[in-house]
């Protein structure tokens, strides 16, 4: 029974349907696992064991009554930037430390309807602004493969919880790579849907033209299942697409797989400065596997790739500075009370926001301010058009694109936290898809320095079935997704060292 924590969602679902396990047993196994390792991994900001077990009990009761929904009794974790009714939603920030939303985000409500059990809320960079989860106002999260390294970010808590067996799956958010990059760094699967595929209602806003909610799981099939549950039109989000949601699992499992698919290999994603040799080696080896599986590799060019980081950091911070103007201490969130209105705003925001959030508000405010708007914000939006044209031309030649997810493997905690520009550079291979609104998935494709490497498939708008099919074909032909980190020996080593001192 000890291995329940490593079940894939689709396996656990089969066992639940066959009556081989109950949701209460499954949920208890996850909570036991969290109790055993989360003091050291620190993936969760809050665990809700009592609520989770009550939901599991209700799920078992529903099943006993003959009900069956796609996630009935499946334990999941939720990134703490998605509103959960009655459960504190902090966004990793002191300014929302005590915020209890009176409603569920649409994605959360859809998971509830599908029967999911919620274990707790996972750690994140403050307001999802970061690439290592070190900008959480509360604590850092360890990478399950090496607890002294970062899990990536900003959905680092979700990725670490999935990779350490504390949950069967999780949902995160991706504004510039925040699902795909931590998935890559933790050796799991992470999918960013097409902009508009999943409703953003109840997701605390970061960059509104970029944000998407998506799954973090240990298998590609699980990502397809979760995506199918959260996707769809929502009248509460005017940017959500009113287009039917396909059956991703059956569209993914075609007989041909990746055979005959034209896979673009963008040369700019292999030549950029800062890509580690070990990452390039692992991803190139993965490309060979794709060829062996019958894919046709096509070298392509995305010539504006080098501009992605400045475009992204001007546009996302401009949107963030506007979105975060709402934290004024009046309707919700921290208020530093002073007799003066202006002083109350200043002191509330000074006390409530951490350094990275302030930095981005400053950068965004500058880019939007009189005299600089044309030179920075407008210029970035025009460059965004050029970037979109790069991708539109690529889709005339290829079905999907394959490239690294991150130029680096997980780095040591503290290594980049003082140098914001260095931290931003890590997002070089992920921000493009958010800027063009298209979809992408990261899957494990090897190791470098003992740390996982991610392979990214990019797809056109609403190309989720295509990237899932390519990812599934690669996954089924390799064993990387079956590797598990040894957390217990890391913990006991630490304890031995402490007791030796």
């Amino acid at each position: 029974m000890a291995e329940h924590q490593w079940l894939a969602i689709h396996e656990a679902r089969t066992m639940l349907r066959q009556g081989k396990i109950s949701s209460v047993e499954l949920t208890q196994a996850m909570l036991d696992r969290a109790l055993a390792v989360d003091n050291d991994v620190r993936a969760f900001i809050s665990l809700q064991p009592e609520e989770a077990l009550a939901q599991a009990q209700a799920a078992d009761q529903r099943r006993a009554n003959g009900e069956d929904t796609p996630l009935l009794g499946i334990p999941l974790a939720i990134k703490d930037v998605l509103c959960t009714r009655g459960i504190v939603t902090t966004c990793g920030s002191h300014i929302l430390e005590d915020f209890v939303p009176p409603f569920d985000a649409t994605a959360v409500a859809k998971l509830r309807t599908a029967g999911a059990v919620f274990l707790g809320k996972t750690n994140t960079d403050e307001f999802a602004m970061g690439s290592s989860t070190e900008y959480s106002a509360f604590f850092t999260t360890g990478n399950p493969w090496d607890l002294e390294r970062v899990p990536g970010g900003s959905s680092g808590g979700s990725a670490a919880a999935v990779a350490s067996g504390e949950t069967l799956g999780a949902v995160g958010t991706d504004t510039g790579g925040s699902i795909r990059q931590p998935a890559a760094l933790c050796g799991i699967v992470g999918l960013k849907p097409t902009y508009g595929r999943v409703s953003r209602y109840g997701l605390v806003a970061h960059g509104s033209s970029l944000d998407q909610i998506g799954p973090l799981t240990r298998t590609v099939e699980d990502a397809a299942i979760l995506l199918g549950c959260v996707a769809g039109h929502d009248p509460m989000d005017s940017t959500s697409l009113n287009i039917p949601v396909p059956d991703y699992v059956s569209e993914m499992k075609t007989e041909a797989g990746i055979k005959g698919m034209r896979v673009g290999v963008p040369k700019e994603y292999f030549s950029g400065e800062g890509i580690e040799a070990g990452v390039e080696t692992a991803v190139r080896a993965a490309l060979d596997v794709l060829t062996d599986l019958g894919a046709e590799l096509v070298e392509i060019s995305l010539p504006h790739t080098e501009y992605c980081i400045p475009i992204y950091y001007l546009i996302s911070t401009a949107e963030a500075s506007s979105n975060l103007a709402r934290y004024d201490g009046v309707r919700y969130g921290l208020r530093a009370d002073t007799p003066d209105m202006w002083q109350t705003y200043y002191e509330t925001r000074q006390a409530g926001f951490g350094p990275e959030v302030k930095r981005r508000i400053m950068l965004g405010t500058y880019a939007l301010s009189a005299g600089y708007y044309d030179a920075y914000y407008l210029k970035a939006q025009q460059a965004r058009t050029l970037l979109r044209r790069d991708f539109e031309q690529a889709w005339e030649q290829v079905d999907v694109i394959a490239c690294p997810t991150s130029p680096v493997v997980a780095f040591k905690l503290g290594q980049k936290v003082e140098d914001p520009l260095q931290m931003y550079m890590i997002d070089v291979f992920t921000v493009s898809l958010n800027l063009v609104g298209m979809c992408g998935i990261s899957i494990p494709c090897g190791f470098s320095e003992g740390m996982p490497v991610g392979l990214q498939f990019m797809g056109p708008a609403l190309g989720e079935s295509l990237i899932l099919r390519a990812a599934y074909a690669y996954e089924q032909a390799t064993e990387w997704h079956k590797q598990r980190p040894d957390i217990k020996s890391q913990i006991s080593n630490t304890k031995n060292q402490v007791s030796a001192v």
Partner: protein
Amino acid sequence: MPKLSLEEVEHIGELARLGLSDAENEMFRDQLSAILDYAGMLNRLDTTGIPPTASALPLFNVMRRDEVRPSLPNEEAMANASDAEASQFRVRAVLE
């Protein structure tokens, strides 16, 4: 691009109502200057006549009927307010 002046940084901080300390102003002056300097590479792009992209999706108006629908009870909507009275948010006086 020349380094931002301290006055510029302080002005941006005021626009954003951040109430930054002197040390923060100095730190952001260095960091923002470095980031903006890097972003200056966009000037290498000729964007004459290129329309800006504000959203990856084609934008169109979304309309719905203006109908009475269920909403949050008043107490729940007010529950997160730091200060409220008689179902209203209490704020500091704007005018003396």
